[in-house]
């Protein structure tokens, strides 16, 4: 899927790869697939910037100088969650004083505000709560579609789909079919965390396993939905676990072509059961962005998710393989409960400035990466 080189000699010169990366530079320039071992080497090579240049070459082949952003809003209908993942600062038990449950009207009200602000997408994910069942979500999707037919509904992680299936005693496929019938347009990529079973059992023991996660996305893709994929890094996982995770995604993508975007998620330790951990450094943030871009040769987009990275690291990630700056997210709770210091929202003007400053051309996209044309173009 990565275009062949037009001038491989020039590309090689530009990479200025150190001698012990020369073989990988050749592979990258000639758009050859990288192996598990290649991925681990890229994680361990001391020259972070040389690895970044490899990823930047791939990004440029795929996207030229274009970097996208979208205008969206997150709605998290409840923070009550049965899962109690060790890395999470968002989930509550129902008796906690700061547990909350939105009504259908609350969600519709928030969606109305986001439409008024010009959002093209609403991103709905929530805790696993027995009262928020398949019927509740069918109703809210129908209500949203009826009132806001143009608003793209990107909802539910694979983990939620598996949970809703269990509650309703039907298959995940049935859940997906019913949600699609009610108005679901695409799925976000959350809940993937780290697929490796040993790591997964330590950070999110009660969550669906890797095979279930992969299966839900396979089914969603077969039913015509596009989805994203994520990876939570910077906690207790090692280089091999990150490479393994991304290669499992690559294998599914070879089968379905349904993933649009890979989103590396930086772990934020504050207020979680893993708060003794330091969290990832900026170097690891950029390394994960770059190595993922290089390994995922069949996924179009890699996101610099500024909510998790912070504006500064996210901007630098645009030079390490990322081509998407995510959205102007209003009211993001999950990461901010874990101590993220990024602002709740960046203005469109600031996002466009950051993209331009990084030497790229910004464009607004919708969820499916079509350019959005507005009557009044932003500055």
């Amino acid at each position: 899927m990565i275009p062949a080189p037009t001038d491989p000699a020039r590309d090689l010169r530009r990479l200025r790869a150190p001698a012990d990366l020369a073989d990988l530079a050749e592979k990258v320039v000639h758009a050859q697939r990288l192996s598990f071992e290649d991925g681990v080497r890229l994680y361990r090579h001391p020259d972070l910037l040389a690895v970044g240049r490899l990823a930047d070459l791939v990004r440029e082949r795929l996207h030229g100088d274009r970097v996208s952003y979208n205008i969206n809003r997150h709605i998290e209908p409840t923070n009550v969650c049965a899962t109690a993942c060790a890395f999470c600062a968002f989930g509550r038990v129902a008796s906690d004083p700061d547990a909350y449950e939105m009504t259908q009207e609350d969600v519709l009200e928030r969606a109305a505000a986001c439409v008024a602000e010009g959002a093209t997408e609403v991103h709905i994910v929530a805790g696993l709560h027995p009262l928020f069942d398949l019927a509740w979500y069918e109703e809210i999707l129908k209500g949203l579609k009826a009132r806001f037919p143009a608003l793209h509904l990107k909802c539910f992680t694979a983990v939620e789909i598996v949970y809703l299936a269990g509650l309703a005693r039907v298959s995940p496929e049935t859940v997906l079919r019913r949600l699609i019938a009610a108005g679901l347009d695409s799925m976000p990529g959350g809940g993937a965390e780290i697929f490796d079973p040993v790591v997964r059992s330590q950070i999110c023991d009660n969550k669906c396993d890797a095979d279930q996660w992969i299966d839900v996305h396979r089914t969603a893709h077969r039913l015509g939905l596009r989805s994203n994929a994520t990876m939570l890094y910077g906690h207790i996982e090692g280089d091999e676990h990150r490479v393994d995770h991304v290669l499992r995604l690559r294998a599914l993508q070879d089968e379905t072509k349904g993933f649009q975007t890979f989103i590396p998620l930086a772990f934020h330790p504050a207020n979680t059961q893993l708060s003794h951990l330091p969290g990832p450094t900026g170097r690891l943030d950029l390394r994960v962005t770059a190595v993922s871009r290089l390994l995922l040769d069949n996924v179009a987009h890699v996101k610099a998710y500024w909510v998790m990275l912070g504006e500064k690291t996210a901007q630098v990630a645009l030079s390490f393989g990322a081509d998407d700056f995510d959205g102007t997210v209003v009211e993001e709770k999950i990461v901010h409960m874990a101590g993220a210091e990024s602002p709740q929202a960046l203005t469109v003007e600031r996002i466009r400035h950051l993209i331009r400053e990084a030497g790229r051309t910004p464009y607004e996209r919708d969820t499916l990466y079509h350019a959005v044309v507005r009557e009044k173009a932003p500055a």
Partner: protein, 371 residues
Amino acid sequence: MTATATSALEAAYDRAAAGERLSTEDAVVLLAQGDLLTLGSLAAAARQRRNPGRTVTYIVDRNVNYTNVCVTYCSFCAFYRPPGHEEGYVQTYEQVAARLEELRAQGGRQVLLQGGHHPDLPLAWYEGLLRSMRERFPEINVHGFSPPEITHFAEIWKMPVREVVARLKAAGLGSIPGGGGEILVDRVRKVIAPMKATSDEWLGVMREAHLQGLSTSATMMFGHVETLAERVDHMDRLRRLQDETHGFTAFIAWTYQNPNTNLLRKVKDPAGSHVYLKTVAVARLFLDNVPHVQSSWVTQGPKVGQLALDFGCDDMGGTMMEENVVSAAGTTYRMTPEEMDRLILAAGWEPRRRTTRYEVLPPHLPTEVPA
């Protein structure tokens, strides 16, 4: 890009890679067209040529801002208060000593002593302050004032700069920080700090300090109203003076910080981390005669502060137990010496403490004993 532009860039890359002195034209081309990661690698190599190894230094220090009363009214400053303002203060010798006691408890080696441009504190007050600090805290170097403060003293005390420097040095001043450098181009200074020392005055104070044996640092505050060429002019003026005196220990660049300042109206888009990293990389390449380049974690945050070490920086500055000037403008990054160690280690480097003159102190962390 035209063929000429490409070849100018390639030629500048080649000169940088060979460790040759860059022209101002080279530096402008690199800032305007250079690839961030290519510049980073070239700067990292230049750093290795000058300061080989995996050591990253920092100093345990603290800021003492003895007064916030100031008559200079810089548009980018959120710290100062005009004379007579109810929030104005001047610290007593005892208040300053109490702060140095806290620094001593941390093993601190430097106090960054700076204040607003107070209209009527006399020389004797400063001499008394410096003497009392030297007597009670001989191990703590007073890294004090800044060229605009020295120029201000010369004016209110009606005394040549040479004599101001000599008197303060005799009383205990050990070195002068490079604050107030901003951009050493008078067109820019007229916009952002019209009442502050001119660029010639700033450089004149530094020349005098170097001639009298005081070391100083050099700074640059960028990302406001200056052009790329003016940013390079600034570095060029520093490089010329350094060729003459060799008195600068380090170069420290930071981006103009946004909120709570009057300059905001003139700067719509404060510089991001991309421009910051690119600028420190080009500075490392261009300032071939300045020994050290500091990472500004105070303005960039710990993550980009660490990353700057991959872009040619070899020093993390000070731990600054209290920082009032940048934080008044809304940026509040803080760090203990232990956090600084962790930060440097996590980025894959070996932390070592240093003095103001960049003498590396003996290792302070347990080292692994070979089996």
